[in-house]
């Protein structure tokens, strides 16, 4: 009921009320570009295919290594080399891009002709700036993380190592298909492909039941989203008659709809067209772990950390953002899709942040923070700021990968220990300095400390958008609050794990170089094992590969600040320039005005939807951007301070006011004990998993069992009954078959008599012969 009223209370802001805003033109421009691509299919340079082919080659090679029992690091080096080449190819694709999208075809895939219609979806690729943007960080990060993994996975050298890198390559291939595909089926192929790789990599330690369960959960929850996506794709084809981007974006019908939406009048856009966006949205929610389908992502941390970093933080989970950005025109013609996206994103951001605050497993905290940050991106998309979303995707990719890899380094070094209560002062340990510093960089970015972090700029763009868009101020406030929480939980991790007194309890992972190390520890006797760890444990510090990658990523995080300033005037920065001229180029007129013109938008009352209480573009009476710098910057600092107060080490450098003496005793613990059920609820993730189990999984399971019994007893019973009836009948009449000749003769005579009688009756009734 609440949701229903919520939906009714808002609808799509009529962003095109002002004809001067130029979106009709943008739409026209897009159509021209797309049409150009449609008229010149397969016009791009063929070497672009390398980006896709190299990972496939990597997969095949790794499979061969596995088949021939390779026991060296060659799989890793092969992968790194190939992915690096792919990255270079992407770079050259970026550099050689001339402003018009083009397609490159590998081979024909679907080609069904009937009548004058056809269902065409080829194995070909559509290159525009959005694609390039995504592919740059996908291939770049993949290369770096492969390097990292070459060291991280070294205890699994052998079959597992090959398996890991094969799946890794397959993932990059799938991601490339997802991002570069020139039609929705290619996107779907990539979409499912990354799902598969995610499944394989989460379940990498397949002997651990929890890993298997997490992998299964990830795949199935994603599959629910995929169902939405698939239906959306099918409906697109059914409605627009094509799934190819170039034709779709040049589709006249679509532009008719966009023009209709520009007037704020959605009543003439058929429901079918509006449903497409809603269905695609479900897919995006699944892949990008948005409420209510986010539950798989925290569990996915069962996988090796490089996987968490690449797939579950930087690239795959942003596929939902890419999807919505790519199909922005379709989302625009849906009255309710974008508002729902905005609200779901906001709710997810808040919910995940609250859960993240109360977790103790540092990887899970990062996972929830990922969910939360993805919520930001979705909110941005819903607020018509694809630029903001894309920028946040980019910065988030860097700093979250960094954070994960740093956590992974800790995990690697401390035998799988992830509990922040059992680690302390890691940064001060020998050989862990680089990890400590880079972790700090990552945390600052995630917390969004003002001006000095790229995370601040991207988040600020989203928050400003929320405040200046009429009717969405509430979202803005929620996101600001979430930003404070984010700062808190981020630095909670940092303060507890990386600074403070040096203390470490190793995890339960046996660190021998065994192929099957991760599964077999359960079979070992726990007692002596544990002693061994606590008494003689020496964390082994990260090697050069890990450190190099961490440093590069930290630098990248900091350097991406500059992106906000490149081409700031025209496009909101470099990312904006990449998003512009793609199908995602519909950025909010409000933002445009706020940024460039500083004009008061007194006359911009939307046709549909309620008007915000404050005049658009004003925060605390200031320009939205300036106001945001104030609000979110202060909020972030506030969050860090709170974290320091509750979790900071006592007297740490004499600078902060922390009260933690040992790793597991801090002020927060005392408060949490007294705060009633709330912290426990948050720690248990608001029991969302349990609720799902209770209202979805268990009933479904029960229904399945009921079906099983129905099948066994009722349906099969009926069949058996039909088989049984003749037997009963036979049992009844069998005695009549006495075997005595005269018995049969009697029945023959009797039968003849009956027959005659019947004939006689018929003759008499018909008044026959007599």
């Amino acid at each position: 009921m609440i949701t229903a009223s919520l939906f009714n209370s808002f609808s799509m802001p009529a962003f095109l009320a002002d004809p001067s805003a130029g979106h009709g033109e943008a739409s026209q421009h897009l159509a021209q570009l797309a049409e150009h691509a449609a008229q010149h299919p397969n016009a791009g340079p063929k070497w672009v295919l390398l980006i896709v082919l190299l990972p496939v080659l990597g997969f095949v090679l790794n499979a061969f290594y596995a088949a021939f029992g390779n026991k060296s690091k060659i799989p890793a080096w092969t992968t790194i080399a190939l992915l690096a080449t792919a990255f270079i190819a992407t770079l050259s694709m970026f550099l050689s891009y001339e402003g018009t999208p083009y397609t490159v075809q590998a081979f024909e895939w679907f080609n069904l002709h009937y009548g004058d219609k056809s269902f065409v979806a080829n194995f070909s690729f559509y290159i525009d700036k959005l694609t390039i943007l995504w592919m740059l960080f996908v291939t770049g990060l993949a290369t770096l993380i492969a390097l990292y993994a070459s060291e991280y996975m070294s205890h699994d050298i052998g079959l597992g190592y090959c398996r890991f890198f094969a799946a890794f390559c397959l993932f990059v291939f799938s991601m490339a298909c997802l991002v570069m595909g020139d039609n929705m089926l290619m996107l779907y192929l990539g979409w499912e492909g990354v799902g598969l790789c995610s499944y394989l990599l989460i379940g990498y330690f397949y002997k651990k039941p929890s890993a298997v369960a997490a992998a299964k959960k990830a795949f199935i929850v994603n599959r629910i989203g995929d169902l939405g996506l698939a239906l959306g794709v099918y409906l697109t084809f059914v409605h627009f008659g094509t799934v190819q981007y170039s034709e779709l974006f040049a589709n006249e019908t679509l532009h008719t709809y966009i023009n209709a939406a520009a007037t704020g009048d959605f009543s003439h856009i058929p429901a079918q067209a509006q449903w497409i966006a809603l269905l695609l949205m479900v897919g995006a929610f699944g892949k990008s772990a948005q409420f209510p389908l986010y539950v798989w992502l925290p569990d996915a941390m069962e996988g090796p950390t490089p996987v968490s970093a690449l797939i579950h933080a930087a690239t795959m989970v942003t596929a939902g953002v890419y999807l919505i950005a790519r199909f922005y025109p379709i989302f625009l013609v849906s009255e309710h899709a974008l508002p729902i996206v905005a609200w779901i994103g906001t709710i997810t951001a808040l919910l995940a942040a609250t859960i993240g605050m109360a977790q103790f497993d540092i990887k899970r905290i990062m996972a929830y923070s990922t969910v939360s940050q993805l919520g930001y991106m979705f909110a941005a998309l819903g607020l018509l700021s694809t630029t903001g979303a894309a920028f946040h995707v980019l910065t988030h990719a860097f700093f979250k990968a960094l954070l994960f890899l740093a956590c992974g380094a800790v995990m690697h070094g401390f035998a799988g220990q992830l509990d922040l209560r059992k680690l302390s002062g890691v940064a001060w340990m020998k050989g862990w300095g680089i990890v400590g510093v880079t972790m700090l960089v990552g945390c600052m970015n995630l917390a969004g400390l003002p001006y000095i972090t790229s995370g601040f700029y991207s988040k600020d763009m989203i928050l400003a958008e929320a405040f200046i868009t009429p009717g969405y101020r509430m979202i803005g406030w929620i996101l600001v609050f979430t930003a404070i929480l984010t700062a808190y939980y981020t630095f909670r991790v940092y303060f507890r794990v990386f600074v403070g007194p040096q203390h470490a309890e190793p995890g339960d992972e046996h660190d021998d170089h065994d192929d099957h190390a991760h599964g077999e520890e359960q079979n070992h006797d726990a007692g002596p094992h544990g002693d061994h760890h606590s008494d003689h444990f020496h964390p082994h510090a990260p090697g050069w590969a890990i450190n190099t990658v961490l440093v590069i990523l930290a630098c990248a995080s900091m350097l991406s600040i500059s992106l906000a300033y490149i081409q700031k005037a025209e496009h909101h920065g470099w990312v904006g320039s990449m998003v512009a001229e793609s199908s995602a180029s519909y950025h909010s007129p409000y933002a445009a005005e706020a940024h460039y013109a500083h004009v008061e938008h007194t006359d911009m009352h939307p046709v549909a939807g309620p008007v915000g209480t404050a005049a658009p573009g004003k925060v605390f009476g200031m320009d939205a951007h300036a106001g945001m710098i104030l609000v979110s910057g202060l909020g972030a600092i506030f969050g860090v301070l709170v974290a320091a107060y509750f979790h900071g080490p006592k007297g740490w450098q004499g600078l902060f006011i922390g009260g933690r003496t040992e790793s597991d005793k801090c002020r927060m613990d005392a408060i949490a004990r007294r705060a009633g059920p709330l912290p426990r609820l948050a720690e248990n993730k608001w029991f969302v998993d349990e609720i799902y189990a209770a209202i979805l999984v268990t009933p479904l399971r029960i229904i399945s069992h009921i079906f099983h019994w129905i099948d066994k007893l009722l349906l099969d019973g009926l069949v058996n009954l039909f088989g049984f009836l003749p037997r009963v009948f036979a049992w009844v009449i069998r005695p009549s078959q006495s075997g005595v000749l005269q018995g049969y003769a009697v029945s023959m005579a009797g039968g003849l008599a009956v027959l005659l009688f019947v004939v006689l009756v018929i003759v008499m009734n018909s008044g026959g012969a007599a």
């Binding site: 009549s736 078959q737 005595v740 005269q742 009697v746």
Partner: protein, 123 residues
């Protein structure tokens, strides 16, 4: 009295052609006898256990059928009835030959003529 004269007339066997049409009232008693004989044959077949008697009863039923055939042929003034009785006779003879051979065979196996001695086919 003229009935008696008529009777003697028709027994003159020299006068062999069909003397005249036979009305239905004359046909009916013959058919009645035929039906009765058939019924008796049937009952005999159903009740008697001796296989030879049973075969005799089938012969009796053949006789009943033959009588009806000839009576109808006479009624219609046609020879087909008699022709069929010839056929019936052939069948009866063949049946008798086979049946008696069978009876002998069966009797050799069971030392009994009872039809009930052979009931391996019971269900």
């Amino acid at each position: 009295m003229n009935h008696l004269v008529q009777a003697i007339d028709s027994v003159q066997l020299a006068q062999l052609a069909f003397p005249s049409e036979m009305p239905a009232t004359v046909l009916a008693p013959y058919l009645f006898v035929s039906a009765a004989m058939f019924a008796i044959g049937l009952i005999g077949f159903l009740t008697r256990k001796n296989m030879i008697i049973m075969f005799l009863c089938t012969e009796l039923m053949f006789q009943a059928a033959g009588l009806a055939l000839i009576a109808f042929g006479r009624h219609h003034l046609q020879a087909d009835g008699q022709t069929f009785v010839i056929f019936v006779l052939c069948v009866a003879a063949a049946e008798a030959a086979m049946a008696l051979a069978l009876v002998v065979l069966l009797f050799r196996h069971r030392e009994s003529l009872s039809a009930s001695a052979w009931k391996e086919l019971n269900g």
